[in-house]
């Protein structure tokens, strides 16, 4: 063995290294184990977050442990050179393993079933016998009918040993495992094309504004779109009496060379596609802008109503009273728990709230939070301040992506489904039947083999024989 190894050329050695199933098992294990670390450490997060996490396990020495893990690339490990190298070794392993075994299997699938010699017949793994009362010609018909029901179309062969019928099924299912391997490579290729020729960016568009670039990463790296995208409107709706968003939609317009070429209302799970770039509705939020307008309906104790629009810090007066209010604070999402206490539950503008300070004669009388979606908070001792809307402060969060490889990834997924189906739910099964006349009756000897699910295949054969 060692002698053999020494005689191997360099290329052969590389080949045998990559074709070994041991390598596959090592790669499976290493990718899995390192990935576990990658799911525990928050990827791409600020150092403090992971140091805090590590303190639970390592106490005082956690900053050192963090520095070691950071140097090894574990804080952004799925994009680290060594993890990507592992994936490439995995791909090389799949290619070489498949090429190593494919010729033999290919020969097997190219070779159609042949009648068996008596010696071969004797050593088949599945054997059955049945005696039919009819003459061989009649018997042949009933055997053919029974096997046809089981999915085998029998061919016949006559030689000096008598009549032999045979058929096979699912010959090409033996290739299923290689089809599955191929699909993994297709997915890899698709992913690589996406990495090299595509981009993943985001864009927050205030209602009414437009942009011809998107932004990548936390840095201000811009990606030109080649056209302009404008957000005409954004809307979020909530389930009755809850703060759970039901739907959020943006109305987008694509502008090219000064002309509006496409208008579409998008929502989550329903993106806009234009010239290979896709805009996904991914979030929404509040942008504190000086120009945002708070719209109120003010109702006096006598029922007189008037409408006002104010900027942050602006004042209003409740009609028919000497009370004036001033907006002194703001929260994008203030909620009330069952006991009436206030809490902020989201960064997004789920339930905008303003804190108003009410004064009379220059003296502060009281102050109160007014929540847009909680009408009970609108009642003041001096009237009703209905919080109608907040204009120009909402933005739509879009995920912007170009990925020319995604279709190859999808193709890979389809091929994988086919490959897995062939590998697990199909089998290559063969049957041979010899018919011999014996005292006016016919003796049928069955031989069969299958590469998978032998038990259920045997049951099928038994059922077919029983039906004779």
């Amino acid at each position: 063995m060692s002698n053999e190894k020494q005689n191997m050329s360099f290329v052969d050695r590389i080949w045998s290294f990559f074709s070994s199933i041991t390598l596959a098992i090592v790669v499976f294990t290493v990718i899995s184990l390192t990935s576990i670390v990658g799911t525990i450490l928050e990827q791409g997060a600020a150092p403090e977050r992971n140091i805090k996490l590590l303190t639970k396990f390592f106490g005082e020495s956690s900053p050192t442990v963090y520095r070691i893990l950071d140097t090894l690339g574990f804080t952004n490990m799925f994009h680290s050179w060594w993890f990507i190298a592992l994936l490439f070794i995995f791909a090389a392993n799949i290619i070489v393993c498949s090429l190593d075994r494919l010729p033999k299997i290919w020969k097997l699938t190219k070779e159609p079933i042949k009648p068996l010699t008596p010696e071969q017949f004797a050593v088949m793994p599945i054997k059955r016998e049945a005696t039919l009362k009819d003459k061989p010609d009649k018997a042949r018909e009933s055997v053919e009918a029974a096997m046809k029901k089981a999915g085998f179309a029998l061919a016949a062969h006559q030689d000096e040993n008598g009549m032999q019928l045979y058929a096979e099924k699912g010959r090409y299912s033996r290739l299923g495992v290689y089809v599955t391997h191929l699909s993994i490579l297709l997915i890899f290729i698709g992913a690589l094309i996406g990495v090299f020729f595509g981009f993943n960016a985001s864009l927050n568009l205030l209602e009414g504004t437009a942009s011809d670039v998107a932004y990548r990463g936390s840095a201000e790296k811009t990606v030109p779109l080649g056209f302009t995208i404008r957000c005409d409107d954004f809307n979020v709706s909530f389930y009755d009496n809850t703060d759970t968003p039901k739907a959020f939609n943006s109305w987008l317009t694509v502008i090219e060379n000064g002309r509006e070429v496409l208008k579409k209302q998008i929502d989550v799970n329903n993106p806009l596609k234009y010239k290979g770039i896709t805009f996904y509705q991914s979030s929404y939020g509040f942008s504190p802008s000086r120009d945002s307008l708070f719209v109120f309906n003010l109702t006096s104790p006598t029922g007189r109503t008037e409408s006002v629009s104010l900027k942050f810090g602006g004042t209003f007066s409740i009609p028919g009273t000497a009370v004036t209010g001033r907006i002194v604070d703001f929260s994008p999402a203030l909620g009330q728990d069952p006991s009436g206490r206030l809490f902020t539950y989201a960064e997004m503008m789920n339930n905008p709230a303003v804190f108003v300070e009410l004064s009379e004669g220059g003296k502060v009388k009281y102050n109160q939070w007014i929540l847009k979606r909680y009408p009970q908070t609108w009642r003041l001792p001096d009237g009703i301040v209905e919080f109608v809307d907040l204009w120009g402060a909402q933005y739509t969060g879009l995920q912007v992506r170009r990925d020319p490889g995604v279709w190859i990834v999808y193709l890979g997924c389809l091929v994988m489904a086919i490959g897995l189906y062939a590998s697990f739910f199909m089998s290559h099964s063969r049957v041979w039947v010899r018919l011999r006349e014996e005292k006016g009756a016919t003796k049928a000897i069955f031989a069969a083999s299958t590469n998978k699910n032998r038990l259920s295949f045997e049951q099928k054969i038994d059922r077919a024989i029983k039906s004779l």
């Binding site: 799911t39 525990i40 993943n200």
Partner: protein
């Protein structure tokens, strides 16, 4: 009657079924076996009704199309569906293999899952769907994932049985399966103590786990109680290790062939693996692509499902190409299910990421 009452009936039925299957195994009385099967089937029927009723209730609250109202959108509903798949899968095996003895090993998994629902104080109320979950891929992704999880659970049960029958105290594999089983039970008992001590029903299981998990035992503020808990757990695991061979005697007395157990383990993985690949990984990726514009983002849930996929791919390759048989391959099946549980529960409860079942 509403869905929760039918579900209550199903829970009681499964626990009774567990008791009857164990009684059947101990007394080997055919009548008890028939009773056990009947109770299980009745439980499944009741749970099916509960599932349909909850769908109708969900439809009423969700204010959306009926196909969107398939109750598979949070941890509680998915666990319940897992139990449904598990029991359904088990009944198919019982019918195909004409053997009831597996019931005593599979109904406890269903029982444990149901106990976990109550012990963790999981939120059972119906919540309408957040926008990202309003996708047709949800149905295919979640149902197929759980069918696969159920087959993996069955393969776990048969692999443990296989190990129990074929290993001896001197084998490393004996320690492996007894300790694994011991840890499983110790964790469950620890959570049970939490439940008894705190008796809280937090708004979400995540909140419960973060604030209370093992606080009564392993993570107690008193170092003494924590140390005592670890000692008790170690003692408990030792007992399982010491008397694990009792299980071997029971299974052997029932003359279940190890080969059949090995074959069942393989068959369930061979069915579960392609379903998991297609439903769990591929459909999940397509859905993520539609909703967020990324088919793969190394989110902890995605990464863990890939790890699980690798473990089962390992199982299949080791079996076919290396010809692994026996205890070695059974241990891989056990590791596969541990990884499945972590993908399913651990990621949601312990790690952060996209898959918090839309719980904000």
């Amino acid at each position: 009657m509403d869905s929760s009452q039918f579900f209550g009936i199903a829970s009681i039925a499964y626990i009774l079924a567990m008791v009857s299957y164990i009684a059947y195994l101990v007394f080997r009385n055919g009548t008890i076996g028939i009773i056990a099967t009947t109770i299980t089937a009745a439980g499944l029927a009741s749970q099916t009704i509960a599932f349909i009723l909850r769908g109708i209730e969900f439809h009423g609250i969700g204010q959306m199309g009926f196909m969107r109202a398939i109750p598979l959108t949070n941890l509680y509903e998915s666990l319940v569906f897992f139990v449904w798949c598990l029991i359904g899968g088990y009944l198919i095996i019982e019918w195909k293999y004409k053997s009831r003895s597996f019931g005593a090993f599979i109904t406890p998994i269903a029982g444990m899952a149901l106990a976990f629902i109550d012990i963790s104080g999981m939120d059972k109320s119906i919540h309408p769907l957040i926008p990202a979950l309003q996708s047709n891929w949800l149905l295919a992704h979640v149902t197929m994932s759980f069918i696969a999880y159920a087959t993996f659970a069955i393969s776990f049960a048969t692999a443990i049985m296989y190990l129990a029958v074929t290993t001896d105290k001197k084998d490393a594999s004996y320690s492996f399966w007894t300790i694994t089983l011991g840890v499983f039970l110790a964790i469950l008992i620890g959570m049970g103590i939490d439940f008894l001590v705190f008796r809280v029903a937090e708004s979400s299981p995540e909140a419960f786990i973060k604030s209370h998990l093992f606080k009564a035992t392993f993570r107690n503020s008193s170092g003494f109680i924590a140390a005592l808990s670890y000692a008790a757990a170690a003692g408990f695991i030792f007992i399982v290790w010491k008397y694990g061979s009792a299980l071997k005697r029971i299974i052997t007395s029932f003359s279940i062939e190890p080969d059949l157990l090995d074959d069942l383990t393989y068959k369930n993985i061979a069915i579960g693996f392609p379903i998991f690949t297609l439903g769990g990984l591929i459909f999940g990726a397509i859905w993520a692509d539609q909703a967020w514009g990324r088919y793969w983002s190394w989110d902890p849930k995605e990464t863990w499902s890939l790890i699980t996929w690798f473990v089962y791919a390992f199982y299949l390759h080791a079996r076919f190409l290396r010809g692994w048989r026996g205890a070695n391959i059974a241990m891989v099946a056990v590791v596969g299910f541990i990884s499945t549980i972590f993908t399913y529960l651990g990621v949601n409860l312990l790690l952060s990421g996209l898959h918090s079942y839309g719980g904000q």
